[in-house]
Symmetry: C2
Subunit: 354 residues, 2 copies
């Protein structure tokens, strides 16, 4: 078996994936190539224990306070899509990254790159939408920066948001707290955002309109922590690369096998149909208002019930278990009873999804 | 006079500057058009008292601690230039914005937009340079995000950095603290960065090579505060739009006339020569390692001496005074004894300077 693995690794792929000399679209997919880039280039160079945690947010201790700090840049195409726009996404996205540590998001910054020739009325719509979304999440946008690039050196508008939150609980939430036997809970149907953006971009129409799920999850997270307390081991919002990326990252970090049950994974029928038609795996597609919670087995049902009481979590489900096998992989039981691997994305089916 | 002013405002310019329907390069210049955009679109929509301060950084109160939060996106072209590169600039730039409140910069985030096809070896150089610069400033890069855009939708690399600092002093530093009679101090020669980037971009060569002044000013700022204490009324690093933009913003905010003495303003002879040749005003050009301090008259000399003791401040000078006239304008005494207005940039002589 060991021999076979070696053969697979060194035999069947003459050019290792990480030996590209230039940036590929897939380096931004949220999948394997991006993971390699982050480790080889960024973590390797910036090395510090906070960054090495590879969470979506940094947990900081500043003068006796526990704060969370996160950043995200949005380059989505198109900038207006069914269910939202780039501004709304930029606020919700960073609020979600900040709150996954259990922090209360408080303040956002915004850095814009505008392309020469971009419509000021579209800019106003986007900025108004950011303001409304921030209000709804209870965060304030307190500092910003605007750059303009020449026509053809950008694409209408790119938005970076960074966010600060305050952690007031004392639980130790993070990948390192995941244990064998923990339950894997997702907060709702997967891949809605990915399919909504794809359909708008490619001009596809489905019988039922599929809308992005963009939403801020901070109130849901507060409820999860109040209910689950120290049983909440890890949380992650499922964006680029979808559930597959999040669980593979967890699994690689803690070297435990994640076991899913495909039949339990919530999918809207229209999304499922679109994915079958297009040959895409919904578990590898982006979400913008969904999360996964890894929780102690004994309290998993209680946490699930709390999630389902929130409108953003009404379709939540327990979809699997963290196994005892010390293997960095995610496996999934298919409806006919077999098992398959759920890998991270390797290529890039949907560039610029967020 | 009043009639004349009206005639000037409504008569001589048939299309007001702020009635563009699309983004112009000049909206990113750090000058008047950018100022209009920030007020009309961003502040108007995001409205909150922290943002309305229009400082380069937000001062936050989180759980009894005073923190500073700032963001800046770097789109400079070329990405490698005499004296530095985009990575070094991105770290120094945000460290400077954070520390101008007198905060100790602690943590940075970084959000990258990479263009498909960008050289990974150049990326590594830039990231290594960020790591070294951060080390030198005593800040940690603790969280990041990477996006990839299609070829022709970006330009090699754009970098956003956001930063958090801790304010440990109790002084009230900000534009609102500026008083008539205050002295205006600059920390060194102006326009070095602007001319260095321009010369590289346009392939100009001068007898003396002009290098960017990119540098982190946090240790200099600590020294200024230790020395000047409550006499330090306001500080600003002089980036896009140069000294002209910073002082015009101050003047507009507090409605006092700023009076400068042209002969006192430090300029490298090579930079002065290049500006004369190219028809550019060095006071409107970008710096990346220079600051202006507005300080109480009685302590200005003491503060100047402290600045000059730091290698980054060896060419510092007192260049003017805040007047008693309640007029939002900056005036400058020319070497032949007359006065001229120093306006913000209106056009954009140097797009993508930072």
């Amino acid at each position: 078996m060991h021999e076979k693995e070696e053969q697979f690794q060194f035999g069947s792929c003459p050019i290792p994936l990480n030996q590209h000399e230039t940036i590929q679209l897939a380096h931004g997919s949220g999948g394997q190539l991006m993971n390699d880039l982050i480790h080889d280039v960024f973590i390797n160079s910036f090395k510090n224990p906070i960054l090495e945690n590879v969470e979506d947010q940094a947990t900081l201790n500043i003068s006796g306070r526990r704060l969370t700090f996160s950043t995200d840049t949005f380059v989505i195409d198109p900038i207006f899509f069914p269910g939202g726009n780039i501004g709304e996404l930029a606020v919700n996205g960073t609020v979600n990254d900040v709150c996954m540590s259990g922090a209360t998001p408080l303040f956002l910054s915004t850095g814009m790159i505008l392309e020469e020739g971009f419509s000021i009325s579209d800019l106003k719509k986007i900025v108004d939408s950011m303001a409304k979304t921030a209000d709804k999440c209870g965060v304030k946008i307190v500092t910003g920066d605007t750059k303009v690039v020449n026509r053809g050196k950008g694409d209408k508008i790119y938005i970076n948001t960074s966010g600060i939150g305050l952690i007031e609980h004392s639980y130790d939430i993070g990948m390192h707290s995941i244990k064998p036997g923990d339950k894997i809970i997702v907060s709702g149907t997967l891949a809605d955002h990915g399919i909504a953006v794809l359909s708008k971009r490619e001009g596809l129409t489905f019988q039922t309109e599929i809308k992005s799920d963009t939403a801020a999850l901070n109130t849901l997270v507060q409820k999860i922590i109040e209910t689950g307390k120290e049983s909440v081991h890890s949380m992650r919002d499922l964006t680029r690369g979808g559930l597959a990326s999040a669980l593979n990252e967890f699994s690689q970090k803690i070297n435990l096998e994640f076991q899913l049950d495909e039949e339990m994974i919530p999918l809207k029928p229209a999304v499922k149909g679109a994915c079958e038609l297009l040959g895409l795996d919904p578990l590898q597609l982006a979400n913008e208002g969904k999360m996964v919670v890894i929780a102690a087995q004994d309290d998993a049902d209680k946490i699930l019930t709390a999630i389902k009481q929130n409108p953003l979590g009404k379709d939540a489900a327990i979809i699997g278990t963290v196994g005892e096998n010390q293997k960095s992989r995610v496996i999934i039981r298919t409806p006919i009873g077999g098992w398959r691997f759920l890998d991270m994305l390797v290529g890039e089916p949907l560039p610029r999804i967020c």
